[in-house]
Protein backbone atom coordinates (compact mmCIF):
# COMPACT_ATOMS: atom_id res chain seq x y z
CA UNK A 1 0.00 0.00 0.00
CA UNK A 2 2.82 2.32 0.88
CA UNK A 3 4.53 1.58 -2.38
CA UNK A 4 2.36 4.13 -4.08
CA UNK A 5 3.05 7.81 -3.91
CA UNK A 6 0.35 10.38 -3.35
CA UNK A 7 0.60 11.65 -6.91
CA UNK A 8 -0.04 8.23 -8.23
CA UNK A 9 -3.05 7.82 -6.03
CA UNK A 10 -4.58 11.15 -6.92
CA UNK A 11 -4.65 10.17 -10.55
CA UNK A 12 -6.87 7.18 -9.97
CA UNK A 13 -10.58 7.48 -10.35
CA UNK A 14 -10.83 6.96 -6.64
CA UNK A 15 -8.51 9.86 -6.05
CA UNK A 16 -11.04 12.14 -4.44
CA UNK A 17 -11.53 9.80 -1.57
CA UNK A 18 -7.93 8.82 -1.22
CA UNK A 19 -6.46 12.31 -1.28
CA UNK A 20 -7.86 13.03 2.14
CA UNK A 21 -5.47 10.52 3.56
CA UNK A 22 -2.92 13.10 4.51
CA UNK A 23 -5.25 15.69 5.98
CA UNK A 24 -7.75 14.07 8.30
CA UNK A 25 -5.77 12.04 10.71
CA UNK A 26 -7.44 13.16 13.95
CA UNK A 27 -8.71 10.16 15.87
CA UNK A 28 -12.30 11.42 15.99
CA UNK A 29 -12.36 11.77 12.24
CA UNK A 30 -10.67 8.49 11.77
CA UNK A 31 -13.37 6.66 13.60
CA UNK A 32 -15.98 8.05 11.27
CA UNK A 33 -14.21 7.39 8.03
CA UNK A 34 -10.57 6.58 7.95
CA UNK A 35 -9.44 7.39 4.43
CA UNK A 36 -6.89 4.63 4.39
CA UNK A 37 -9.55 2.20 5.54
CA UNK A 38 -11.88 3.45 2.84
CA UNK A 39 -9.12 2.99 0.35
CA UNK A 40 -8.42 -0.53 1.50
CA UNK A 41 -12.11 -1.36 1.40
CA UNK A 42 -12.43 0.08 -2.06
CA UNK A 43 -9.54 -1.97 -3.31
CA UNK A 44 -10.84 -5.13 -1.74
CA UNK A 45 -14.20 -4.50 -3.33
CA UNK A 46 -12.51 -3.99 -6.65
CA UNK A 47 -10.61 -7.22 -6.32
CA UNK A 48 -13.83 -8.98 -5.36
CA UNK A 49 -15.61 -7.67 -8.43
CA UNK A 50 -12.78 -8.82 -10.69
CA UNK A 51 -12.60 -12.18 -9.00
CA UNK A 52 -16.28 -12.80 -9.65
CA UNK A 53 -15.91 -11.53 -13.19
CA UNK A 54 -13.09 -13.98 -13.77
CA UNK A 55 -15.07 -16.90 -12.38
CA UNK A 56 -18.24 -15.91 -14.22
CA UNK A 57 -16.35 -15.73 -17.45
CA UNK A 58 -15.85 -19.48 -17.28
CA UNK A 59 -19.36 -20.07 -15.93
CA UNK A 60 -20.71 -18.29 -18.97
CA UNK A 61 -18.73 -20.32 -21.45
CA UNK A 62 -20.88 -22.80 -23.35
CA UNK A 63 -20.62 -26.26 -21.82
CA UNK A 64 -18.81 -28.69 -24.14
CA UNK A 65 -21.17 -31.35 -25.54
CA UNK A 66 -18.95 -33.99 -24.03
CA UNK A 67 -20.34 -33.33 -20.57
CA UNK A 68 -23.91 -34.01 -21.55
CA UNK A 69 -22.95 -37.01 -23.65
CA UNK A 70 -21.12 -38.63 -20.77
CA UNK A 71 -24.06 -38.02 -18.50
CA UNK A 72 -26.52 -39.35 -21.05
CA UNK A 73 -24.50 -42.53 -21.46
CA UNK A 74 -24.35 -42.98 -17.70
CA UNK A 75 -28.06 -42.40 -17.40
CA UNK A 76 -28.76 -45.07 -20.01
CA UNK A 77 -26.93 -47.63 -17.92
CA UNK A 78 -29.19 -50.06 -16.14
CA UNK A 79 -28.97 -49.87 -12.37
CA UNK A 80 -26.42 -52.34 -11.06
CA UNK A 81 -24.55 -52.28 -14.34
CA UNK A 82 -21.14 -50.67 -14.18
Amino acid sequence: MSTRGGDDVAKTSAGKMIEQRHSDMRPDMRRKSDPSLDEARLRQQAIGVKLRQMFDQVVNEPVPDEFLEILKRADARKPGQV
Binding site: A46, I47, L51, V59, V63, I70, L71, G80
Partner: protein, 200 residues
Protein backbone atom coordinates in the same frame (compact mmCIF):
# COMPACT_ATOMS: atom_id res chain seq x y z
CA UNK B 1 -33.17 -41.03 5.55
CA UNK B 2 -34.53 -44.51 4.89
CA UNK B 3 -31.92 -46.94 3.76
CA UNK B 4 -31.73 -47.12 -0.02
CA UNK B 5 -30.89 -50.65 -0.99
CA UNK B 6 -28.90 -51.32 -4.10
CA UNK B 7 -31.67 -53.39 -5.67
CA UNK B 8 -34.35 -50.78 -5.04
CA UNK B 9 -35.35 -49.31 -8.39
CA UNK B 10 -34.50 -45.64 -8.45
CA UNK B 11 -37.35 -43.16 -8.45
CA UNK B 12 -37.39 -41.76 -12.00
CA UNK B 13 -38.73 -38.36 -10.95
CA UNK B 14 -36.02 -38.00 -8.37
CA UNK B 15 -33.38 -39.10 -10.87
CA UNK B 16 -34.61 -36.55 -13.37
CA UNK B 17 -34.61 -33.78 -10.78
CA UNK B 18 -31.14 -34.73 -9.68
CA UNK B 19 -29.90 -34.79 -13.23
CA UNK B 20 -31.38 -31.41 -14.07
CA UNK B 21 -29.78 -29.85 -11.04
CA UNK B 22 -26.45 -31.47 -11.81
CA UNK B 23 -26.53 -30.26 -15.41
CA UNK B 24 -27.22 -26.72 -14.20
CA UNK B 25 -24.12 -26.94 -12.04
CA UNK B 26 -21.76 -28.00 -14.82
CA UNK B 27 -20.68 -24.44 -15.68
CA UNK B 28 -19.84 -23.80 -12.03
CA UNK B 29 -17.93 -27.06 -11.73
CA UNK B 30 -15.96 -26.11 -14.82
CA UNK B 31 -15.13 -22.71 -13.38
CA UNK B 32 -14.04 -24.14 -10.05
CA UNK B 33 -12.00 -26.84 -11.77
CA UNK B 34 -10.31 -24.16 -13.84
CA UNK B 35 -9.07 -22.52 -10.66
CA UNK B 36 -7.60 -25.79 -9.40
CA UNK B 37 -6.24 -27.58 -12.44
CA UNK B 38 -3.40 -26.32 -14.53
CA UNK B 39 -4.99 -25.98 -17.93
CA UNK B 40 -8.50 -25.94 -19.40
CA UNK B 41 -8.23 -29.47 -20.72
CA UNK B 42 -7.30 -31.08 -17.44
CA UNK B 43 -9.80 -28.78 -15.75
CA UNK B 44 -12.57 -30.17 -17.93
CA UNK B 45 -11.38 -33.71 -17.26
CA UNK B 46 -11.57 -32.94 -13.57
CA UNK B 47 -15.02 -31.41 -13.90
CA UNK B 48 -16.23 -34.44 -15.86
CA UNK B 49 -14.85 -36.85 -13.29
CA UNK B 50 -16.51 -34.90 -10.52
CA UNK B 51 -19.79 -34.81 -12.43
CA UNK B 52 -19.69 -38.60 -12.87
CA UNK B 53 -18.75 -39.17 -9.24
CA UNK B 54 -21.71 -37.04 -8.22
CA UNK B 55 -23.99 -38.96 -10.57
CA UNK B 56 -22.80 -42.32 -9.25
CA UNK B 57 -23.31 -41.11 -5.70
CA UNK B 58 -26.76 -39.66 -6.38
CA UNK B 59 -28.45 -42.15 -4.07
CA UNK B 60 -26.53 -40.73 -1.14
CA UNK B 61 -27.42 -37.13 -1.95
CA UNK B 62 -30.30 -35.67 -0.02
CA UNK B 63 -32.48 -33.71 -2.37
CA UNK B 64 -33.09 -30.18 -1.23
CA UNK B 65 -29.70 -29.75 0.41
CA UNK B 66 -26.94 -27.69 -1.15
CA UNK B 67 -25.97 -29.59 -4.27
CA UNK B 68 -23.51 -26.97 -5.37
CA UNK B 69 -21.47 -27.33 -2.20
CA UNK B 70 -21.78 -31.10 -2.40
CA UNK B 71 -20.48 -31.29 -5.97
CA UNK B 72 -17.70 -28.78 -5.25
CA UNK B 73 -16.58 -30.95 -2.38
CA UNK B 74 -16.52 -33.98 -4.68
CA UNK B 75 -14.55 -32.06 -7.26
CA UNK B 76 -12.06 -30.80 -4.73
CA UNK B 77 -11.53 -34.25 -3.22
CA UNK B 78 -11.09 -35.66 -6.68
CA UNK B 79 -8.49 -33.04 -7.49
CA UNK B 80 -6.44 -33.57 -4.35
CA UNK B 81 -6.53 -37.34 -4.55
CA UNK B 82 -5.27 -37.15 -8.12
CA UNK B 83 -2.69 -34.62 -7.09
CA UNK B 84 -1.40 -36.89 -4.37
CA UNK B 85 -0.91 -39.54 -6.98
CA UNK B 86 1.19 -37.31 -9.16
CA UNK B 87 3.62 -35.21 -7.16
CA UNK B 88 4.75 -33.75 -10.44
CA UNK B 89 1.67 -31.58 -10.38
CA UNK B 90 3.10 -29.46 -7.59
CA UNK B 91 6.06 -28.64 -9.75
CA UNK B 92 3.69 -27.26 -12.31
CA UNK B 93 1.99 -24.81 -9.98
CA UNK B 94 3.85 -21.74 -11.10
CA UNK B 95 3.54 -22.64 -14.73
CA UNK B 96 -0.09 -23.42 -14.20
CA UNK B 97 -0.69 -20.07 -12.61
CA UNK B 98 0.03 -18.41 -15.87
CA UNK B 99 -2.62 -20.34 -17.68
CA UNK B 100 -5.26 -20.76 -15.03
CA UNK B 101 -8.86 -19.72 -15.21
CA UNK B 102 -9.23 -17.70 -18.35
CA UNK B 103 -7.35 -19.76 -20.81
CA UNK B 104 -8.81 -18.36 -23.96
CA UNK B 105 -6.52 -15.70 -25.18
CA UNK B 106 -9.02 -12.95 -25.60
CA UNK B 107 -7.27 -9.79 -26.70
CA UNK B 108 -10.36 -7.88 -25.66
CA UNK B 109 -10.13 -9.10 -22.09
CA UNK B 110 -9.02 -6.35 -19.77
CA UNK B 111 -5.37 -6.57 -18.81
CA UNK B 112 -6.23 -6.54 -15.16
CA UNK B 113 -7.84 -9.95 -15.35
CA UNK B 114 -4.54 -11.31 -16.43
CA UNK B 115 -2.75 -9.69 -13.55
CA UNK B 116 -5.34 -10.92 -11.13
CA UNK B 117 -4.96 -14.43 -12.48
CA UNK B 118 -1.21 -14.32 -12.09
CA UNK B 119 -1.53 -12.87 -8.61
CA UNK B 120 -3.93 -15.62 -7.62
CA UNK B 121 -1.45 -18.15 -8.89
CA UNK B 122 1.11 -16.87 -6.43
CA UNK B 123 -1.06 -17.51 -3.40
CA UNK B 124 -0.72 -20.74 -1.43
CA UNK B 125 -3.26 -23.25 -2.77
CA UNK B 126 -5.42 -23.29 0.35
CA UNK B 127 -5.69 -19.50 0.41
CA UNK B 128 -6.51 -19.31 -3.27
CA UNK B 129 -9.19 -21.95 -2.94
CA UNK B 130 -10.78 -20.27 0.09
CA UNK B 131 -10.80 -16.89 -1.62
CA UNK B 132 -12.32 -18.30 -4.77
CA UNK B 133 -15.06 -20.23 -2.99
CA UNK B 134 -16.08 -17.25 -0.87
CA UNK B 135 -15.16 -14.39 -3.15
CA UNK B 136 -16.25 -15.77 -6.50
CA UNK B 137 -18.23 -18.96 -5.92
CA UNK B 138 -20.70 -17.21 -3.65
CA UNK B 139 -20.33 -19.64 -0.76
CA UNK B 140 -20.80 -18.70 2.87
CA UNK B 141 -17.80 -19.28 5.12
CA UNK B 142 -19.60 -22.25 6.64
CA UNK B 143 -20.17 -23.84 3.25
CA UNK B 144 -16.60 -23.22 2.16
CA UNK B 145 -15.41 -24.82 5.38
CA UNK B 146 -17.48 -27.87 4.64
CA UNK B 147 -16.16 -28.08 1.09
CA UNK B 148 -12.56 -27.78 2.24
CA UNK B 149 -13.00 -30.01 5.26
CA UNK B 150 -11.72 -27.47 7.74
CA UNK B 151 -12.96 -25.17 10.48
CA UNK B 152 -14.93 -22.03 9.68
CA UNK B 153 -12.31 -19.92 11.44
CA UNK B 154 -9.64 -21.43 9.24
CA UNK B 155 -11.53 -20.44 6.11
CA UNK B 156 -12.03 -16.92 7.43
CA UNK B 157 -8.37 -16.47 8.15
CA UNK B 158 -7.35 -17.98 4.82
CA UNK B 159 -9.67 -15.63 2.97
CA UNK B 160 -8.43 -12.59 4.79
CA UNK B 161 -4.79 -13.54 4.33
CA UNK B 162 -5.46 -14.24 0.66
CA UNK B 163 -7.10 -10.84 0.21
CA UNK B 164 -4.25 -9.01 1.82
CA UNK B 165 -1.62 -10.95 -0.07
CA UNK B 166 -3.38 -10.50 -3.38
CA UNK B 167 -3.72 -6.79 -2.86
CA UNK B 168 -0.04 -6.61 -1.99
CA UNK B 169 0.95 -8.55 -5.07
CA UNK B 170 -1.19 -6.41 -7.34
CA UNK B 171 0.08 -3.18 -5.91
CA UNK B 172 3.69 -4.15 -5.99
CA UNK B 173 3.35 -5.56 -9.49
CA UNK B 174 5.09 -8.47 -7.93
CA UNK B 175 3.90 -11.05 -10.40
CA UNK B 176 6.22 -12.61 -12.91
CA UNK B 177 5.75 -10.65 -16.04
CA UNK B 178 7.44 -7.91 -17.85
CA UNK B 179 5.74 -4.91 -19.30
CA UNK B 180 2.90 -3.46 -17.26
CA UNK B 181 4.22 -1.38 -14.41
CA UNK B 182 3.67 -1.85 -10.73
CA UNK B 183 0.46 -0.17 -9.73
CA UNK B 184 -0.88 -0.27 -13.26
CA UNK B 185 -2.66 -3.49 -12.49
CA UNK B 186 -4.34 -2.18 -9.38
CA UNK B 187 -5.39 1.01 -11.07
CA UNK B 188 -6.87 -0.84 -13.95
CA UNK B 189 -8.72 -3.15 -11.57
CA UNK B 190 -10.11 -0.16 -9.70
CA UNK B 191 -11.21 1.54 -12.89
CA UNK B 192 -12.84 -1.57 -14.18
CA UNK B 193 -14.62 -2.27 -10.94
CA UNK B 194 -15.95 1.27 -10.84
CA UNK B 195 -17.21 1.01 -14.39
CA UNK B 196 -18.86 -2.33 -13.63
CA UNK B 197 -20.57 -1.13 -10.49
CA UNK B 198 -21.78 1.96 -12.31
CA UNK B 199 -23.64 -0.32 -14.69
CA UNK B 200 -25.72 -1.78 -11.92
Amino acid sequence: MEEKRKDTPADPAREAAFKAELVALIPHLRAFARTLAGDPTSADDLAQDAMMKAWDARASYQMGTNMKAWTFMILRNQFYSEKRRSWRQTQLDQEAAERTLVAVDDPEAPVALDELRLGLGMLPAEQREALILVGAGGFAYEEAAEICGCAVGTVKSRVSRARRALQGILEAGNYKRDGASASEAMRSILDDAERLSALR
